[in-house]
């Protein structure tokens, strides 16, 4: 990875004093993950450039890494080549004194504003050129960015997420260094393979006034604090690797989109989690609450005491059920162990009082298998679950739940596809979540639920959830299937 800094303020070689590097020498520093070399490709009075070249040891890098989006991610890795948090670390190691604004020999120099240009030949910009400009332009930089194509042989692939970037301003060297130091990892927004959370906090605290007043301050801070996925998620990732091109962080949760994602940052323009928020964030949360209320209401009305939440995800509905004493036995079932672990944390099962703890159980199970543990309950909820099951496997789910578990009441909710037209962010025909295998309009849902009811001796009653559009209907549809006495 490479960074060059060019000064065009004569005498440009003052850069050597500022950076404490002699233009006639090559300086090499061990930065832990490889070697950083500082040298001057040009050193004239009008124009002086220092290059910081970091040679990352790719083998050592692998040994530090903790997995990635697919199993070989650590081996076939852009880290050695792109400006990222590694470069920030090297920057601090090599230019630490300059970063602090010190210069013993020429104490007046650090406060001088110079015409400076920093070039980053490969800068990852997750969030695109727009974010790049939003980060640097408020700080007074002129930004030039040229996207790097993925492969000229395959033009249909388009551009890579990397840009060849130059930022120029008349500014102090220490400001340029400090801002690069913080903003490079923000733009990269990848896993910090080596930074502990404490270090990041310190970093944000130390970024001084410019960050406090930056319009993108919150996004900058949030991107630092991205969590790493747990080990359980990695076991899943090994299975879903090459076929999906990487594990979707919400993928472990069959109801990831709608039962709350781990990342609250859905407003972040560059965040992957935000891209899935359809309907848009605020409405999304409101609809989720409406759905919970509707399901809880229908359950309560059914008189059920022993209930199953099938596909419970991280346990939002379970939390609601616990609050109502009518529900004496509550069982959350999910195919994902990771989701159940999240549910246990959300519900604070470990510290729950014994009497309350006795009311709730979490089970791993899959709804396309027979499961005798699920027999004999008063009610079962399938809240935003069926659309995560392939259509040709829905018969197995029907059999397992209606044919075998056969609770007295089954409550099903699913998106109303007709309503999708009301979401401006959603392309026509697109679905609300990448894992949805289908989305039904009202007629399709009624036909299915009606047929299921008829086959298994239930009656079906339908309710809208959310504000009903005169033509498109409600955003969510709900069916209460009651077993005929």
């Amino acid at each position: 990875m490479l960074l060059t800094i060019t000064s065009t303020s004569p005498p440009a070689t003052d850069l050597g004093f500022l950076l404490h590097k002699n233009p006639a020498a090559v300086r090499s520093v061990d930065v832990g993950f490889g070697m950083a070399h500082a040298y001057y490709p040009e050193a004239g009075a009008d124009r002086c450039t220092i290059a910081l070249l970091v040679e990352v040891d790719p083998v050592a890098l692998v040994r530090r890494s903790r997995g990635g989006p697919f199993p070989l991610a650590a081996y076939v890795n852009d880290r050695p080549y792109v400006a990222s948090s590694f470069l920030s670390v090297a920057l601090r190691k090599v230019f630490g004194t300059a970063l602090r604004g010190q210069c013993k020999e020429r104490p007046e120099l650090p406060d001088q504003r110079l015409e400076l240009t920093a070039r980053l030949p490969v800068l990852p910009c997750r969030g695109g050129e727009g974010l790049l400009r939003r980060l640097f332009e408020p700080l007074g930089y002129a930004v030039s960015a040229r996207p790097i194509p993925l492969d000229p042989r395959f033009p249909w692939w388009g551009d890579s997420p990397y840009f060849d970037v130059s930022v120029s301003a008349r500014c102090r060297v220490r400001d340029l260094l400090g801002q690069l130091y913080v903003l490079l990892p923000v733009l990269d927004d990848d896993k910090h393979y080596w930074v502990t959370k404490d270090e990041i906090d310190k970093l944000v605290d130390g970024a001084g006034e410019w960050l406090a007043g930056h319009p993108e301050r919150d996004a900058i801070a949030r991107r630092y604090l991205r969590h790493q996925p747990g080990l359980a998620a990695e076991a899943i990732a090994r299975l879903v690797d090459e076929e999906s091109g990487g594990a979707d962080p919400d993928g472990a949760d069959p109801d990831g989109a709608d039962r709350g994602s781990a990342d609250p940052g859905s407003a972040d323009p560059g965040s992957a989690a935000g891209e899935f928020a359809v309907p848009p964030a605020g409405e999304h949360a409101r609809l989720r609450d409406l759905r919970l209320t509707a399901v809880l209401g229908a359950l309560k009305a059914s008189g059920a005491r022993r209930v199953l939440d099938l596909g419970c995800g991280d346990g939002r509905l379970l939390a609601g059920l616990l609050q109502d004493g009518q529900f004496e036995e509550i069982v959350g079932v999910d195919a994902s162990v990771t989701a159940l672990e999240r549910a246990a944390r959300r519900l604070r099962l470990a510290e729950m009082a014994p009497r309350q703890r006795a009311r709730i159980r979490l089970l791993q199970g899959a709804l396309t298998y027979s499961d005798r543990r699920l027999a004999g309950y008063d009610a079962a909820v399938l809240m935003e679950v069926i659309e995560h099951v392939d259509l040709d496997r829905l018969g197995a789910l029907e059999q397992a739940i209606f044919g075998e578990a056969a609770p007295a009441t089954v409550i099903v909710t699913t998106p109303n596809a007709e309503h999708n037209a009301r979401y401006p962010g959603l392309a026509p025909g697109a679905r609300r979540h990448p894992d949805h295998r289908f989305e039904w309009g009202r007629a399709e849902f009624r036909a299915w639920a009606g047929a299921v009811a008829q086959r298994h001796g239930y009656t079906a009653v339908f309710e809208p959830v959310g504000a009903e559009d005169s033509r498109a209907g409600p955003p969510t549809q709900l069916a209460v299937l009651a077993r005929c006495p």
Binding site: L53, V76, G246, S370
Partner: protein
Amino acid sequence: MTTIKIPELCLVALVGVTGSGKSTFAARHFRPTEVLSSDFFRGLVGDDENDQSVTTEAFEALHVVAAKRLAIGRLTVIDATSVQPEARRPLVALAREHHVLPVAIVLDIGEKTCIERNAARPDRSFGPGVVRRQHGMLARSIRQLEREGFRRVFVLRGEAEVDAAQIVRERAWTDRSDARGPFDIIGDVHGCHGELSDLLDSLGYLPASDGARRHPAGRTAVFLGDLVDRGPDTPGVLAEVMAMAAAGSALCVPGNHESKLLRALRGRDVKISHGLAESLAQLQAGPAEFRTQVIAYLDGLISHYVLDGGRLVVAHAGLREEMHGRASAAVRAFALYGETTGETDELGLPVRYPWAQDYRGKAAVVYGHTPVPVPVWVNNTICLDTGCVFGGSLTALRYPERELVSVPARRVYYEPARPLAPPAVTAAGAGARAGAAAGIMAEAGPAAGPAAGAAAGGDAGAGAAAEAGAGAAAEGGVANADGRMLDVADVLGRRGIETRLRGRVSVPEENAAAALEVMSRFAVDPRWLIYLPPTMAPVPASSRPGLLEHPGDALAAFRRDHVQRVVCEEKHMGSRAIAVVCRTPEAARDWFGAAGTGAEGTGAEGTGIVYTRTGRRFFTSAGMEEALLSRLRGALDATGMWNELGDWAALDCEILPWSLKADELISGHYAAVGAAAVAGLSAAAGTLDAARARGLEVAGLGERTAERLRAAESFVRAYRPYVWPVSSLDDVRLAPFQVLAGSTGTCFGRDHEWHMKAAERLAGADPLIATTRYLVADLADPGVEAAVAVWWEELTGAGGEGMVVKPAEPITRGRHGIAQPGIKCRGPEYLRIIYGPEYTVAGNLARLRERNLGRKRSLASSEFALGVEALERFVCREPAFRVHECVFGVLALESKPVDPRL
């Protein structure tokens, strides 16, 4: 001398006051581990064998251990005083719960002796009062024991009798595992003597001079009960069977009708219904002497038999696994009446529970009782009652051949209580097999919810048999095609799967958990998922300069394993795929339960499938899948390969290009890394050139950077051959490299050269199909290394991924079990895709050579064993769960962490 005869498996309660010598007696007659002593358990839970304050806890623990022993079939002796009825009650309950006989052996020793013995033991502080009190209770107990439920009671009075007693363990009456057959197992006859004669004729049982039929080849007929009632000639049937039984050419288990007839014949007050009247009238018309013989014969019938070394169980109404070979009232009731839920349906008939659906036992269970249109294997159980008396047929199962032999009823002798056509709601409720009768729903179909289950309320209600038969033959013929029968309990938790190649393969709980999620969320219908390919280990790292892998090391590895001949196969770089293609829609229905019609979502679809190595549907476009399958079917037609493979074929393939499935991964990751590397290193090289021009000392850095740039450019060149746009099937290549199986059997016994030739034949029939280049190498040939190396260099030099070296026989016994099924040896340029662009740069390769193959090799072996097992089970039409557990096991093992570069 008293001889105490006890069954091999039973619960023995020693009853006697403290000091009566129970422990000594137990030690003399039983193995130490068979004896559970209350004193020992007091010590176990409370540190002191004499601490009476922990008695409750000690007995709880004792009962738990006793229950575990009985559950797995171990004789258990309870060494406690057991002089109080309340102490004995849980023992009788325990015995009943586990269907073993409770036996009491009472040691009735004089009070005085016991008091003396206690006094002689320093650890016992009982006063004589305790002994006297216990003795009083014992005296009262002796008379009650049988009433309490002890089925055998032995009382030994005095020391001499105790010392002289002998214990003899007897085989259970039900245990006829020494009878190896072969057998002809015959379903419910119900007085249809004419049809029975027809059937015995066609089975080859010839009448002898004594009037008893015998089979010239020594086969044994096994009657499943319900010989009597309803039909025209119950006495004839009884006489036939009794004669054969006496001659040793038949065995018979009782049915519910025999049980009721016996009570009637003994003059008990029974309701004369369900055809009993006919039997009584027919018997009444005959001699009284015959009636006496019938009473004696029926009275001697044993509830069920365990035959053929435990591999076969026969019982009239079936038997759950935990009841096999056991004896209790519940076992007898189950064997006679089957399992009912206790509910009754709208006709007042009992609702039957489909126990066979839950059956997971190893023994085949053959039974009758509930008329079915056509016998169907369900989880290794089969019902042979084909409703002869209702106008169906009389059926026999030839065992071990597992062939069905059937003769039609000459006419309808008895009208069934239930109308022939099942109610409409029942058919819909079952959701699947249009035309299947009520009986088959209840037995075979878990789909049969309460409504459908009710349809077959015991034999009395059935009889939908005859008419519905034809439909079910096609629809219901294959139990293992029924994906609905998979139970989460068959896959969750820590599991061990018995494989023919590698013994027991363990699947850890956490890996099963991961697999459940992936299987349930992404995998295709389990009826199609009959195999998942094993992972493959690479060669041991090469010590040759500049190379990480070299074919010489693969040959060496096989030579170490005493493999003589190998086949080196070109490794295509695409995506792994399993293609299953059926010759006809009928074959798809027969083997995979594929239903083009029928209720929504209850049948697998289509006439084949293509899925990935993790069981996902390969093509997102159904049209492309269908087109590929139809071309593949055409190639199989054209080459005449169906003649060898039968009705369907499963092929292990690579589908090209890689970018078809992995476009996002290649562009988003590989191309991105390549673009970043080339751009970044080019820029760096530029600055270094400028610096060098200024006279700076950057020569070393400059050279390294130039080398890294060359590596980055090579990396980009490495993935490019695997990318091309696909707009239709014309842009796709299918490279089959192993024929896995067909309906005629698996192909693991075929030489890999045969597989390669098969692929060539297919490729010759359709340009969609790509050949795989290969080289057969004899490891004894001194020039083999060089020849293989040259060939490999050619392949990889032209941008190929590399090759796979396989033992010529897919299943080859090596020095330690089965030799690796394949070892991959990848080309140096391809490995950039795996190890990163710069793996060849100075200093990197040496460190990368340290790689541990052990785990990968072990996984490859286990997964191969599971895959072979899955297919072998599938082609033998074993139950669905038996196939699925293997496939699931492969997926679970694939979730184990392993170095992804291998």
